[in-house]
């Protein structure tokens, strides 16, 4: 009897294990959209998702922020529908995608300016791109060289895993090596929190992360704001992408979600978060 019961127990255990390891069904459902990628574009995607789900109950949109590179990877591996990216896809990523039968199609949904931020108490108001490059490559190491107090500059950078870093490297560093003194943090919010608590710090974040607790510097005498970014006057600016596998079927939820940036509400959302819409309604 005892042995019989234990046999029954093990069978029940096995059944439970089998069920829990069964592949998750319904991954490719039409009313489920999975978004993955850049932490910069993430807030837009999240606000879009919230708005879209409130208008279309029954549609389920999940947004992850794991970095542009991870977004591309997910799209290539077929584990997401939209890869949000703060840079364009690289050659190798395109090749890997095509080899897997995925055709990545990029849509510019907004423009982002990278603001260079310092502590509010910092007397420096403006820098040139050359000066910023010299700071980040380690040629300028003290604020007194820029007209500030005699304290060493604390460099804050996004991790090399982020699209923000790659844009900064491309737009400012001009292929030079970043100083080995640079500290790396994992998100724009973390850069802001480091800069607002460190008087000697300098950092760079997307326009959406600039608020009153930090001071954004003029670059080449242009203040970063939506007008100067869209007009192309502000030198450190870049487009933000949503990549899909081919163009989505017209009328599908994916199609309407992707094109949300063209609607008035979509542009309002983009502006509210602090980015610049591509078109003006």
């Amino acid at each position: 009897m005892n042995r019989f019961r234990s046999a029954l127990m093990t069978i029940a255990l096995a059944a439970v294990l089998c069920v829990s390891f069964m592949p998750v069904a319904g991954f490719a459902q039409a009313n489920k959209i999975i978004v993955d990628g850049s932490t910069t574009v993430g807030p837009i995607a999240k606000a879009f998702a919230e708005y879209y789900m409130s208008k279309n109950p029954g549609v389920n949109i999940t947004v992850s922020e794991s970095g542009s590179g991870n977004g591309a990877k997910s799209l290539i591996n077929g584990t997401c529908d939209i890869a949000t990216m703060s840079r364009f896809m690289k050659d190798e990523e395109f090749k890997a995608a095509v080899a897997k039968g995925v055709y990545p199609l990029g849509t510019v949904i907004a423009v982002d300016g990278l603001a260079v931020i310092v502590h509010p108490s910092c007397p420096v108001q403006a820098l040139t791109t050359d000066q910023i490059r010299d700071i980040y490559t380690g040629t300028i190491t003290n604020w007194k060289e820029l007209g500030g107090p005699n304290v060493p500059i604390v460099l804050i950078s996004r991790d090399t895993n982020s699209g923000t870093y790659e844009s900064f490297e491309a737009l400012v560093l001009n292929k030079q090596k970043i100083s080995d003194r640079a500290e790396y943090v994992g998100s724009g919010g973390a850069i802001r929190s480091r800069v607002q608590s460190t008087p000697a710090a300098i950092g760079y974040v997307g326009l959406g992360f600039v608020d009153k607790t930090v001071k954004a510097l003029k670059v080449n005498n242009v203040y970063p704001d939506p007008a100067t970014v869209t007009s192309g006057l502000y030198p450190i600016a870049r487009p933000l992408f949503m990549f899909t596998n081919g163009y989505p079927k017209m009328g599908s939820h994916l199609y309407s979600f992707l094109n949300l940036y063209l609607t008035q509400k979509g542009q309002q959302i983009i502006e509210e978060i602090g980015f610049v819409p591509v078109t003006k309604y």
Binding site: T10, L13, A96, D180, G186, R194, T198
Partner: protein, 374 residues
């Protein structure tokens, strides 16, 4: 009557088959962790070895240029190894003396009722998720270090060194007094304690006076992480070494008292030596926790791939192996299998090898202690 006690052939076969099935299933479940470990080892080896084939061994271990994302990437990880070592050393300095002293207090000095409360509370520290520690280190501790830099370090020095000094004073005054004749012993002990205690306090004051003047330019540095990792390693060290001290047994302590030893003599010459291997195992476990911790170092160590100058300057940011693996994984190209991807596995292999060696050592030490206790 006898026939009824026998089970029919069919039923017996069913029972035997059921038992066999159950045994093999449970056996598979039981061995799954071993299989998982083998798989981890296999996959890390598989992805780590190509790195050494592509880039060679020399640059990885001797260069400090860590530029994995450039067009001409450089994979010098020496600064990262130094960062890991520095942070681990710092955490050990914080956690080991404090942890062992706390364990001694819990097992031999504090009354039983206090211990019943204190030990579970200390063990609860181990249940706090590391991201909470990391958030605290980044948002609370780092700005605090920047604004009150030196005085915080001085306070830290007091917390770590004051208990050590107290024990040293107690022991040495005890030892000094035991040479005096019986009548003068109590007075001599007090006198020696006062003398040595004031000496120790003076030394600490001098040290903290120096630390107080240290400027801290960035709060996310090796010091910050060492303190937090030390706190995280504490519960392991306290709990395991307290168990070891308790396992020494009442007979040994009573025997020592019966021979006329004081409490300090009993503790330091009988109890601690008897529990030494258990304490060593506790230290190794605690250090392993500090080495393997990822979230705290990624959030609060600054992650600058650079050997501090001079090398023991814990007030500069450092980058550790675990943080590098966590931070660089996203962009490392898994699809094309670049060197940038494989270098992370090479680092993981180094960490695994270190963990393996430490585990072997602790296993050996624990086994030896069991043998000694019989």
């Amino acid at each position: 009557m006898q026939r009824q006690l026998l089970i029919s052939k069919g039923a017996r076969r069913f029972n035997r088959l059921g038992a066999l099935f159950g045994h093999s299933l449970l056996g598979a479940i039981a061995s799954s962790s071993v299989i998982a470990l083998l798989f981890i080892f296999y996959f890390i080896m598989r992805d780590a070895l190509p790195f050494f084939r592509i880039e060679g061994v020399r640059e990885f271990f001797t260069s400090t240029h860590w530029y994995p994302s450039r067009d001409a990437p450089e994979f010098g990880a020496l600064a990262i190894f130094v960062g890991s070592a520095l942070v681990t050393l710092g955490a050990s300095i914080v956690a080991v003396p404090l942890g062992i002293l706390a364990a001694l207090c819990l097992s031999d000095i504090l009354p039983f009722s206090v211990r019943q409360v204190a030990k579970p509370v200390i063990e609860m520290l181990a249940a706090i998720p590391s991201v909470v520690f990391g958030f605290f280190a980044l948002v609370v501790f780092a700005p605090l270090l920047q604004t009150h830099g030196g005085s915080i370090i001085a306070a830290g020095a007091w917390i770590v060194f004051a208990p050590l000094g107290l024990v040293a004073v107690a022991v040495s005054s005890d030892a000094a007094a035991s040479r005096l004749p019986l009548k003068a012993r109590a007075a001599g002990r007090v006198g020696a304690a006062v003398l040595m205690g004031s000496l120790a306090i003076l030394a600490l004051l001098a040290l903290t006076g120096f630390l107080n003047r240290l400027p801290v330019s960035t709060g996310t540095n090796a010091f910050n992480v060492s303190i937090i990792l030390g706190i995280m390693a504490l519960p392991t060290i306290v709990s395991v070494s307290e168990d070891a001290l308790n396992a020494v047994g009442r007979e040994l302590r009573e025997g020592s008292y019966a021979l006329g030893a004081t409490r300090a003599e009993t503790l330091l010459k009988v109890v601690v030596p008897a529990a030494a291997s258990g304490i060593l195992a506790a230290v190794i476990l605690g250090v392993m926790r500090a080495v393997g911790e990822t979230m705290v170092v990624w959030m609060a160590s600054g992650n600058a791939a650079r050997i501090p100058s001079p090398w023991f300057n814990v007030l500069e940011p450092v980058r550790t192996l675990t943080a590098t693996i966590a931070g660089d994984m996203g962009e490392a190209d898994q699809v094309t299998g670049s060197a940038r991807y494989h270098v992370l596995f090479a680092m993981a292999l180094c960490l695994l090898a270190f963990a393996f060696i430490m585990n072997l050592v602790s296993e050996y030490v624990v086994r030896r202690s069991r043998k000694m206790r019989g």
